[in-house]
Amino acid sequence: MRARVFVTLKPSVFDPQGRTIAEALHSMGYGGVEDVRQGKYFELDLATTEAANAKALAAEVADKLLANPVIESYRIEIES
């Protein structure tokens, strides 16, 4: 079973990379892109076939390693 983990900077944290990307898009003429936040994306291949177990395991590794709770939050999707 596959879990997808999306890690993003918390709203209170300034993202200098996202800002630079947004400015680049503006200079390319995409003024309609108001803001950009850059994040990280992980695909975890898990041994379990139970969605609940997969989600719990993905959350555990996200808490322990994939995300730093001081600056980041995460969201998990389970692929069935």
């Binding site: 900077l9 300034f14 993202d15 200098p16 630079t20 994939l66 730093n68 001081v70 600056i71």
Partner: protein
Amino acid sequence: MKFAVVTFPGSNCDQDAYHAAKDVLGQQAEYIWHKDTDLKGADVVILPGGFAHGDYLRCGAMARFSPVMKSVQEFAAKGGPVLGICNGFQVLLEAGLLPGAMLRNVSLKFQCEHVNIRVEQTDTPFTGACRVGQVLSIPIAHGEGNYFAEPDVIARLEANRQIVFRYSTADGRVIDEANVNGSLENIAGLCNEQRNVVGLMPHPERACESILGSADGLVMFESVMKAVAHA
């Protein structure tokens, strides 16, 4: 006295720290491989600069799980002086030995230059030989030294006098123009509440001999030698 210099795969300032302790100050020094757990009776532990574990994922994120870190945590919990320099500071943040986290420099550049930092606190083992307001010229070399913590954490750091160094001008003014990387409150270095664990982004070990452009970092090593001698 004996300095332990931890070497992670990807550390690259371990030899500078070892050289400062052993050759410049004439003290004992030992490298400790990150998979070892014996600190070999060291009086001081240094987590050096570099790119531990390639800095993959986040700076210091994987280094905190290296076996040696359990021993460093225990050493720190007993009041042993621990200094994290640059990547070593990032490891201390990830390990929760110091609060907060590092973001990309606002310039988005890897910055390698001499900067001025003002000593804010002298009751730590690494600043005891400094005076409050003393300005040190010390090099930085980092891409992610933009210190961040939530406002309540910053308030607590101020209240507990845990901000040990701030980026400043050469005459000691802490202003935006001197803030090299965007750090909140110009924070260049911190200590924990017990004050025995200190982390900073600038590299004092690279500023211990005038031939290197500055010997201002030496005072931090002299400080800890005095602190250990009087402990």
